[in-house]
């Protein structure tokens, strides 16, 4: 374990978050079992009040999760000088087997929590809480993932050992002995460029159709999901290379640094927002026929689609700008 302020901050917050989510899951289970909108009993009244608590906790969680995602990358990056062979966050994440799983779970949990809040918002708009059971079932499914994330993060940090000078010898740590990767293996550029252009194009087209005509919502949501993955792979495969203007530096984390004008923050923020809102459109489709949602849901879905479209356009502009305007050429 390394006593570093960043690590301490992350550990404290993940413990707090784990506790809060567990707390809301317990209450969620109670709602799931005892909810009866037609009853006027004291219990039902208390449960209705608890829905406020749980949605407040989850909204805070989402905000904290977003910042902690970036703080995690930042901290891991700042730890890289402590490990022989690690150049940036990529190297520190491979110090032990828990680095990348933690990061992956952080991303997945962010998206799931975002989707939960979208469902929650739609549900609260209906007077009779039409999707409350599904909502709390999802919450209970989400809880183990969030707890697993906290556990992985704690193990990851606890198992770190820095390579510092000892009194017997310096210098004999060899990076090969621990298998630290200083670079990420990336997908070849040209196929990835084509895939990026196709999925992004299709996502934007279906999104526009949905926004204008209320059709192809499911396809749009599916494409958004695929587009998120393709975009992340494209970042590693070619977008980052143009930003660094280096043909072999595939790191997806260094763009968060000052040297590149913190361009990574708006890029990833647009990507995450585009993914969550786009997929949110699809998640809500099954509930369109609920009588109490007939009036509110279509408008909400259109707003989500619009937000998603704008985010993806911003992402595309930010990603294409260095490709089109820098003098760096990959081929």
């Amino acid at each position: 374990m390394i006593l570093n302020p960043g690590i301490l901050a992350l550990l404290i917050s993940s413990l707090l978050i784990g506790f809060m989510v567990l707390y809301s899951a317990v209450h969620g289970a109670q709602i799931l079992r005892r909810w009866d909108i037609t009853s006027g009993s004291e219990l039902q009244l208390a449960l209705e009040r608890k829905t406020y608590l749980i949605s407040t906790i989850l909204s805070y969680f989402l905000g904290i999760q977003l910042v902690s995602l970036f703080l995690f990358i930042f901290t891991v990056d700042s730890l890289s000088p402590l490990f022989v062979g690690a150049m940036c966050a990529v190297g520190s994440l491979t110090v032990n087997g828990y680095g990348y799983p933690t990061l992956l779970l952080k991303l997945v949990n962010f998206i799931l929590a975002g989707l939960w809040l979208i469902i929650n918002h739609a549900d609260n708009a209906g007077y009779d809480y039409p999707i409350i059971r599904k909502k709390y079932l999802l919450l209970i499914l989400l809880t183990p993932l969030i707890l697993a994330e906290s556990a992985l993060e704690i193990i990851y940090f606890l198992q770190m050992k820095p390579d510092i000078i000892t009194s017997c010898c310096g210098s004999l740590f060899s990076p090969a002995s621990r298998g630290i990767a200083s670079e990420i293996a990336a997908v070849p550029v040209l196929p990835m460029k084509i895939a990026f252009a196709v999925t992004m194009g299709l996502t934007l087209i279906t999104g526009t159709i949905f926004f204008l005509k209320q059709r192809l919502g499911g396809l749009f949501a599916l494409l958004t999901g695929g587009n998120s993955i393709v975009s992340l792979l494209s970042m590693v495969s070619f977008i980052c290379l143009y930003i660094y203007e280096m043909p072999s530096h595939h790191c997806p984390f260094c763009i968060l640094q000052k040297e590149y004008g913190y361009i990574g923050y708006p890029l990833y923020a647009a990507l995450l927002l585009g993914s969550v809102t786009g997929m949110g459109v699809g998640v809500l489709i099954p509930f369109r026929n609920k009588p109490s949602l007939l009036l509110t849901l279509p408008g909400f879905q259109r707003r989500l689609a619009l937000t998603s479209l704008i985010s993806w356009i911003i992402f595309t502009i930010l990603a294409l700008r260095p490709i089109l305007f820098s003098s760096f050429r990959l081929e």
Binding site: I2, L3, N4, P5, G6, I7, L8, A9, L10, I12, S13, L16, I17, M20, R49, Y52, L53, T56, I57, Y60, I64, V67, S68, F70, L71, F74, T75, S78, P81, L82, V84, P162, D163, I164, I165, S167, C168, C169, G170, S171, L172, S174, K258, Y262
Partner: protein, 378 residues
């Protein structure tokens, strides 16, 4: 959209007015909150600035230093080791360094004496670091006396005082000609304190170090990056340790915040009751509580951070520098260069605002779900 914004603006407006109405309670919270942020921010800014300072200084250090160990301890190294090391492919140059420490029993301080190659000093004279000069009140042209290894006192004339700008490195430094230093310290000819190596290709550093250990098993090569890494770990560790110690204070603060948030006065309860009676929903009260937390957190966070900035970079962290710098009698007096990045601010935010916010969620919810009927009746 504009409607939602307008609504939030009104809620914020109301919250601010209500916060100002309870100056005593909120003032106490603000003071404690600011103090916590201030302490943590000072620790972080200070350790980070020292770390950056150290890495800037070490940029000019030699790529590899070779020491000799004897009986597991550091010992002078024979100069002819350099010839063997020079034969390793990739080594561009080897230089012996002659330097040592001197303990001044009168002032209870340790000095570093160096005899660099090609130092330009007339016989019997030395160059003196500004820290020593200040402490011993000795200036250019004065004579200063040190006791040599043989127990005899020797007088040296101060040829010049080393410039103030390099204080971090030279506050406790004395420069001497090599021959005089060997005579003064008793270091026999043919031995040096350590060897410095120049290696052109940074990728070869580890290989060169390995080869040196193979040829000269009693040597201990140290690569510059390792020194950097060790400093990095050391300063982070000190900062982390201080934060752990302060976590008791942090916990106390969280309990304080919990207490403030959950202990609603009768008047506050009545206020919420009236608001709900006139048509505010529970979610509106929750928004009000959210804005309340945001206003208090941001104000305290900003105030604490700004105070810490002044404390660390203008007064050189006068409150707890000794703990973080390490133990020494002769402190260099220097002003740190501000190094602050978004990650530090985010870390600070996570150590203070996040615990505060999380502890106030449940009390705010309790306040928001007060039954207006029961409050107004009581």
């Amino acid at each position: 959209m504009p409607h939602t914004l307008e609504k939030q603006r009104h809620i914020l407006d109301f919250t601010l007015a209500s916060l100002l109405r309870r100056k005593g309670k909120n003032g106490a919270l603000f003071t404690v909150y600011t103090l916590i942020v201030f302490i943590l921010a000072s620790v972080m800014f200070f350790t980070y600035a020292l770390k950056e300072e150290a890495s800037l200084v070490l940029k000019g250090a030699p790529e590899i230093i070779v020491q000799r160990t004897l009986q597991g301890r550091y010992a002078p190294i024979p100069v002819e080791y350099g010839v063997k090391i020079r034969g390793i492919r990739g080594v561009m140059g080897v230089r012996p360094r002659v330097w040592g420490y001197y303990y001044d029993p009168v002032f209870l301080a340790n000095y570093t004496i160096m005899a660099p190659e090609g130092v330009n000093l007339p016989p019997g004279s030395i160059a003196l670091g500004s820290g020593i000069s200040r402490m011993r009140r000795a200036y250019q042209g004065d004579t200063i006396s040190f006791t040599g290894a043989d127990g005899k006192a020797r007088n040296f004339t101060i040829a010049r005082i080393l410039p103030e700008e390099s204080q971090l490195l030279s506050a406790d430094l004395i420069l001497m000609a090599e021959g005089e230093y060997r005579e003064f310290s008793g270091l026999p000819p043919g031995l040096a304190s350590d060897l410095t190596l120049k290696v052109k290709n940074p990728k070869e550093l580890a290989t060169v170090a390995e080869k040196i250990v193979k040829i000269l098993p009693d040597s201990r090569p140290i690569i510059r990056n390792e020194i950097l890494r060790t400093y990095d770990a050391l300063f982070s560790w000190r900062g982390g340790l201080l934060i752990i110690i302060m976590s008791a204070a942090l916990l106390a603060f969280v309990i304080f915040a919990w207490d403030k948030a959950s202990g609603l006065s009768a008047e506050e309860k009545k206020e919420i009751g009236i608001l709900k009676a006139v048509g505010w929903e529970s979610s509106d009260i929750l928004f009000m509580k959210f804005w309340e937390g945001l206003v208090i957190s941001l104000t305290s966070f900003l105030a604490g951070t700004i105070l810490a900035y002044f404390h660390v970079f203008l007064t050189s962290a006068s409150l707890f520098a000794p703990v973080l710098k390490g133990w020494s009698v002769l402190y260099p007096q220097f002003q740190l260069t501000p190094f602050i990045n978004p990650g530090q601010i985010a870390t600070l935010f996570f150590l203070t605002v996040v615990p505060y916010t999380v502890t106030t969620i449940i009390p705010s919810w309790r306040a928001a779900t007060i039954d207006p009927d029961s409050v107004l009746r009581s």
